[in-house]
Every structure is written in C-alpha cells, then in structure tokens.
Symmetry: C2
Subunit: 343 residues, 2 copies
DNA sequence: TTGTAGGCGTTATCAT
DNA sequence: ATGATAACGCCTACAA
C-alpha cells in the first residue's frame, strides 16, 4: 500500500505492470479459478504494492448492483431511531453493504427527495423507519423496484415487508401492571404524530381497562407530541383535573421524561403520588430518578431484523413476510400502588 | 412519472422516444444552453413521462465525482454523535450530497475497513468524528487523497482540517463556576478513553484550581469511561473518600448521569450535599432531577461546520483552516454553594 | 443547434 | 489459462 501522488491506478495500470491483460487482473483479484494460481498471487502482490483498489462505481455499472442500501429516518438525533440505525448498520457492514443515511425531518418533500436520490444511486434496497409521512410516498416506493422494508411505520397501508413492535400487547401489559397495583384512574398520554403506533397503544390501554372492568374516561386521555416537551404539557393538564389520575401510561419514554419533569416541578413524588410508565426503554430510562418502568422495544434488534429481511429480499427471496416483535414490560421504580390502597 | 415493469429507461431510450441523439437528451436534462429551449422542454416532458432518472453511478464514472461523503463515527447510538451527524446530514442534503454512515465501534480494524470502503466508492470527502482509534489510520487517511475533516478528534496528530470544541476554556469555566460558589474540594471524573479531549478538560480543571489558589488533590481525579456506568463507579469511589468532594466536574453528561444515579442511591442530594457539572449539554441534561449544570457544545453546529469545511475542501479551496468552537457554561440546578458555606 | 464517437473503470463473453 | 472485445449508462469534445 503506497501513496500515489497522481491519479490512483486503474486495472489497466496493474495489467501493464504485470504484463498481462486487464481481464486477467480482474480475474486474479477476484480469486477466479480461471487463472493460474501463481500468476494470480503475483498479480495480487503487484496490485497491493501499487495501492490498487477496484472502483466500486465502475463495477456497479456493469454488475448492476451497488452493495449499498438507503436508510431514511425522521431524524437521527432521536435516540430510538439512532439505535435502530445502529442495528441496521451493524449487519449491513458485516455483509459488506454501505448505508446511505438520510433524514426526512417529517417532511414529505424531503422524504421523496431522499427516495429519488436513492433510486438515482442504484441502491440495492431501502429501509424506512418510523415514517410519519403520508401514504403518497408508498406509491413512489413501489414504483422504484428496489426492495423496501419498513420499521415501525406509522401508516397502515403497510408495504408487504415490515418489522413492527407489538404495540397493543406491550401497552396492554403496561396498563395491566398498573391495574394489578391497584390503580383505577389511569391516564394515557398520546402522541399527536404517532398515527398507527399511537392508535395501537391506545387500543392496548383500552383493552386492559376493559378486561379489568375499569370504565374508560375520556378526560384521562390527553395528547403529547412524542417528545418531552409535549409530555410536560400533557401532564400539567392531567394534574389540573378535578380528579387527577393516580397513574400515567405514556406513549414513550421521552413523553414520560417530560411528565416526570412536570411532576417534580409540582413537588409531587413518583411513584408515591403518581405512578409512571413509559415505552421504548431508552437508555435514559435506567437513569431517571426514580428509574422508569417501561415497555422495552429491542431497538437494535429491530434494525438488525430489518436489514436481514432486506438482505433476503435483495437476494431474490420473495417469500419473506413481515415480522412482529414482542415488547416486554420492564418494571423498575416508577410504579407502585396508589396512596389510597397502600395506606 | 410512471411505473416501469421492466428495466428502467436509459438515456438512449429517451433519445429514441424523442427522436434525437442521446447527447441532446443529456444536454436538455442538464439545462445546457446548447440546446433549443423548445426541444429541451419537449425532451424533459418525455423523460418525465417515461420516469427517466439519470444513473448517478454512470455519471460518476465519467465525471469522477460521486457527490457522496463518508462519515465514520464510533457509534451512532451515542447521542452526542447522533446530533453531530444530524448537522452533517443537514448541510450535505442541502447541497445534494448523500452521506455514507459507518460505525467503527472504536475498533481500528473496522475504521480502516470503513475508510477503504469509502475510497473504493469514490466518496468526494470524509468526516471522522470523535475517533478514538490510534494514529495509524491517519497515514491511511492521507494516502487516499480525498479531503478529510475531523470533528473533536481524540488525537493530537490532527489532520490539517478539523473542527474542535474549546475543551480547556469550557472546563475552566465550569470549575471556576464551582469555585465561585465556594467549593474547594472539587473532583474531576475523567474519561479513560477520552485522550485529547479528556486531557484538555483536565487542563482546564487544573487551570481553574490554580488560578483560585486551590491545591490540586490527586485523589479527587478518578477515571470513568465516558458513559453512565463509569460515572457511577467513579462517583462511588469519590463518596468513599475520607474527605469527599463537595462538587464534581464530569467529563461529560453521560458520566454525570451515572454520578447522579450513584448520589441518589446513596440517599444524598444534589446540589445540597454535592454539586455536579457535566459537559456536552445533551438533551437529557434539561430533564434530569435536578436539571444538570453543564458546558454546552453546539453539537449540531459542529457537524454543520465540519460539512461546510469539507465542502470548501472538495471545491478545491486549500486555504481552509481548522475551526475552534467555544463552549458555553449553562448553569442549571445541579450546582449550589457547599453546605459549610451556605449554613 | 445537433449528432457522432470516444472514454470513464469494471466485468463478462467470446475466442484462442 | 489468457487475451481481445463488447457492454454498463452517461458526459463531452469534436464534427457537422
């Protein structure tokens, strides 16, 4: 491996150096059996010395595949998304795929632009995570004939291939946990932008209530925005109620974080005054005070599964179906029996 | 825009449809002035109808540029890194560059593999953030002649171009703040893997102590790992001291998070019993209890600056120098005068 | 203003 | 086992 001041060497340069044709070089470098082992290793040595690296773009032009995948996310600054992407990247890397990362910022214009860019670049596959964008882009995705896998997509017009968390069952468990502790006035802070997953978590919430014979109370369901800020505001609303809840189930951990902030600011205690449950089990859930009870999503694994699914699709397997991953309740310190019951 | 069941159309297909040569199509689609505006728009219409998209890989082969940049990070699951990358992605996207994201996981093998992959793919530039990998790979980076920009790199053999936070001044401010509150026994929890930035923050810490005439106490400097876990362990050590510190400055917010956890677990109070300062100002710093006093790094901006620097480099400007970005102390609730003084 | 021809760096299909 | 030769899809002189 050596620095080259001018243009990097091409396959023809190596051919010249080795006094063979460039086809032979090509074969030698790809360990083709159609080449004398001796000359092969000789050529490999020469190529190495010259610092030769085959151009992926030239190769792609002829092979018609790029060994790249496009990943579009709302924003990588979201810790949930970041972990999913980390999982994707891990298995992509293992299989020698490079990943293009693009943020859509919940802007359908940008999302479309991203998909177009991916198509132009001949990516072999696309993964879309937690897209909040309307259905219009599904047409686009199906137009371009590259395989697409969705992760926790927020729209029901699902693509044939997706990896999703079991929202209903997860939230059912969470609320059931609160009920077993003795809670009856249990609130749910929704995500105004959550669409599908928010609807499903609401379903689980209602199912748990119904199962326990607790009547659903409209005032106990309020909207957040899936972020801490929205959780704070929503919690404030709940605390202002005539008869406030004794427990709150949040759309996700970020929302719970905001709710916790609000509760602290009101000089109330978790879980003594109010129990709190999140969703996702972000890293931070183990470091709040108190530690947050939450529903775990195997985030990294979701990413890995998505990439593995995409790999199958790209290799031509068409019998790949969607994957539904179970969520798991993690009980920590933010939940306890309500005051009335515990006394 | 129309679905095509078979192969996507090439420039020649469009040429045929428009009854012109493919060179004319090429010109028309790139708004060349060397083409009759009328035929140009006619061709554009035809291309649009046919769902034609020029292949970026074919174009790259002839133009010798890909409009892609490679970004290597330790792990995207690190919230600091994620925000930097978000900044990079934002300006890259604006300028129609796509970004390859690769995790090195602090493994020099992987980091080298990533750079090789980038080189093979003819990326126009590379950004490396918070690399902990040894200097050996700098040789590699300079070998490949693509422009490289480093963000908060952890080694002093810096590349000519980098974007760095002002660690010394930032930590000096943090510790000075503690001193002004009346603290004298101030600890620093280092990052075992922090190299350059850890050393610089230590320097700032010592400078502030010296300036205030506080003698440096070796036992008050302990090692964490830059993560919450390490912060916990380090804090436990500090609390076990004969004469524990009244304030602790942490390498970063993650470390502070762990320290806070430990303090809570010991039934001590922040800031009444002990003051705590972090570094980074991650999102979470505003949502701890109490809110964390910390030194802000404009993370997104670091990424933007890095990408802008890279853009200049790629456009041939060679008179680009490194950038040093000021850090800003953000005083919140985790710092207060020590007990002895406040009573 | 438009068309023709060559080349970007590979892989792949023929011969030899 | 090796070497010409032709793609791959696009851009760009150069010619017309």
């Amino acid at each position: 491996m050596q620095a080259h001041r001018t243009k990097p060497p091409t396959i023809k340069d190596i051919a010249r150096l080795a006094s063979v044709s460039h086809s032979t070089v090509s074969r030698a470098l790809r360990n083709s059996s159609l080449v004398d082992p001796k000359t092969a290793s000789r050529i490999q040595q020469i190529a190495r010395d010259a610092g030769y690296r085959a151009s992926a773009v030239a190769r792609s032009l002829v092979t018609q595949e790029t060994r790249t995948v496009g990943v579009v996310v709302t924003t990588i600054a979201d810790p949930f998304v970041a972990e999913v992407v980390s999982g994707i990247e891990e298995v992509a890397n293992q299989r020698c795929y490079s990943v293009f990362l693009t943020e859509s910022k919940t802007d359908s214009e940008l999302e479309i632009k991203a998909v177009h860019s991916f198509a132009d670049r001949w990516v072999d596959g696309i993964i879309v995570t937690s897209s909040r964008v309307g259905s219009l882009h599904f047409k686009l995705l199906s137009e371009t004939k590259v395989p697409v896998v969705l992760v926790n997509n927020q729209h029901s017009e699902a693509s044939p291939h997706s990896v999703m968390i079991q929202n209903v069952e997860g939230s059912r468990q969470a609320v059931q946990h609160l009920i077993r502790l003795g809670h009856r006035r249990i609130a749910y802070i929704r995500d105004r932008f959550g669409y599908q997953s928010d609807a499903e978590r609401l379903t689980g919430y209602r199912a748990a209530l119904r199962h326990a014979g607790v009547t659903f109370s409209k005032e106990l369901v309020v909207y957040g925005d899936g972020k801490a800020e929205g959780g704070m505001v929503a919690m404030r609303t709940l605390l202002g109620l005539q008869d406030p809840p004794t427990a709150v189930f949040c759309y996700n951990d970020m929302t719970a974080l905001g709710a916790l902030r609000c509760i602290h600011d009101e000089r109330l205690q978790v879980p003594q005054d109010i129990s709190l449950v999140g969703f996702d089990d972000l890293f931070i859930a183990s470091y709040t005070h108190p530690r947050l009870t939450t529903v775990r999503q195997p985030k990294r694994q979701l990413g890995q599964l998505a990439m593995e699914t995409l790999l199958k699709l790209m290799s031509g397997q068409d019998s790949v179906d969607s994957i539904s991953v179970p969520a798991e309740l993690v009980v920590r310190e933010s939940t306890a029996p309500p005051r009335e019951v515990s006394e």
